[in-house]
């Protein structure tokens, strides 16, 4: 794209290669922020409203998976959004949290399985990594139609 980047880029598309980051305290009541930002970014990346709803739910599940096994009282959740020609990549990393003191409840294990099921159904690829004090969950969703 030639000319002044601020003027020539249409305001309703997120350019290929653009990266957005969001970080907030690792608390359940703030996960809604992740959904909000995901909606805004997905809309600008050209996904339709059904895909928007899929991504909102999926990113919430990413946050929950990243929060698993932590005490949920410390640390931050850091989300990264990357838009490419054919997909959107979102990752959620939990940083600086202490491991959970109590064993996961039956409800908790159940919820974790459900998170995995939901992600499998709504996005094309997803995964998890655990390293010491940080946990990361990520997803990739491909565009349906022609690339923006």
């Amino acid at each position: 794209m030639g000319g002044d980047p601020l003027l020539s880029a249409p305001s309703d598309t997120l350019g290929v290669g653009d990266r957005v980051e969001l970080a907030f305290p690792a608390r359940g009541d703030l996960v809604v922020l992740a959904r909000l930002v995901t909606s805004a970014i997905s809309a600008r990346a050209g996904f339709d409203i059904e895909e928007l709803e899929d991504l909102r739910l999926a990113v919430g599940e990413l946050c929950l998976l990243a929060l698993q096994g932590s005490d949920r009282r410390h640390g931050d959740l850091r989300l990264e959004f990357r838009v490419s020609t054919d997909s959107i990549d979102i990752s959620c990393t939990l940083e600086g949290a202490a491991p959970a003191l109590t064993a996961r409840t039956a409800d908790g294990l159940e919820a974790e399985q459900l998170s995995e099921q939901i992600l499998s159904a709504l996005v094309d690829e997803h995964g998890r990594e655990q390293q010491d004090a940080s946990a990361r969950a990520w997803l990739r969703k491909r565009r349906k139609g022609p690339a923006a």
């Binding site: 909606s39 805004a40 409203i49 928007l52 709803e53």
Partner: protein, 257 residues
């Protein structure tokens, strides 16, 4: 607290008159007042629970409801022909609503977002038809004449597109309380019954009989027509006007300031 057919419920202006008449001594004995309070603590508690999860602790809500109950007993005039349960319900709900208003709580999304919600459902269906696929936020924004932010805000506020239209227009299947207009009232909450009965008493005997046959005995309009010897059209008209009258009555009753 029985609702006979002979009672004439007080019009709503009586509420205002009651306010001014507080200097008048209560016509109930101390013992009667105590019984009324204890008898209706359950009702006040239940009404308080209806406002749960707007962020207020249950204890605070129960306190507001209990104080309102005592006020109701203080103000109640049995001579006026209004059933106490209905009177207390109105007072308690009024106090609970005021509790939230005074706190300046924004309980619902802004009006603009609510109006947008109404449009989004229609706009989505129209666009799906037109485009043969789901619309994007940009397309919805253009279709509703709003900004993308507003559309996203509406989606986030939980008022996004609705793929199914829940316009159940089948009158024959809905119970009375649903036909009165509340979206989710297929239920007979104590407070609804308390409001409904005195409103019913404002209707002439025949209209009340028709409502009973329709909604309690489950007769169809034709069966009712045969029963009372009029045309089915006439029954239909009577039902509509009776329900409208009830709606009016309950709406007036329900607005407490």
């Amino acid at each position: 607290m029985t609702q006979g057919g002979d009672e004439t419920p007080a019009p709503d202006s009586d509420m205002a008159e009651h306010e001014g008449a507080e200097a008048e001594p209560s016509r109930l004995s101390e013992a009667e007042r105590e019984v009324m309070i204890t008898d209706n603590l359950g009702l006040s508690h239940q009404l308080a629970r209806r406002f749960l999860h707007r962020g207020e602790p249950l204890d605070d809500l129960v306190q507001v409801a209990s104080v309102a109950l005592v006020k109701s007993v203080d103000r109640f005039d049995p001579g006026r022909g209004v059933a106490f349960a209905a009177f207390a319900t109105r007072t308690i709900i009024g106090e609970l609503k005021r509790h939230f208003r005074d706190k300046g709580w924004a309980v619902r999304a802004s009006r603009r977002v609510q109006e947008l919600y109404l449009e989004l459902g229609h706009a989505t269906s129209a666009l799906v038809q037109q485009l043969g696929r789901n619309p994007t936020v940009a397309e919805l924004a253009a279709a509703t004449g709003s900004s993308e932010e507003a559309v996203i805000e509406a989606i986030e506020a939980g008022q996004g597109y609705r793929a199914t239209s829940i316009d159940a227009s089948d009158d024959e299947d809905h119970p009375l309380s649903a036909r009165l207009g509340s979206n989710d009232s297929q239920y007979q909450a104590v407070e609804e019954r308390a409001l409904l009965a005195p409103a019913l008493a404002t209707l002439p005997v025949r209209e009340r009989a028709i409502l009973r046959m329709r909604f309690m005995d489950g007769l169809t309009q034709s069966e009712i027509a045969a029963e009372i010897g009029v045309s089915q059209m006439h029954v239909s008209r009577l039902l509509s006007s009776s329900l409208e009258q009830l709606r009016q009555q309950i709406r007036d009753d329900d607005e407490v300031e």
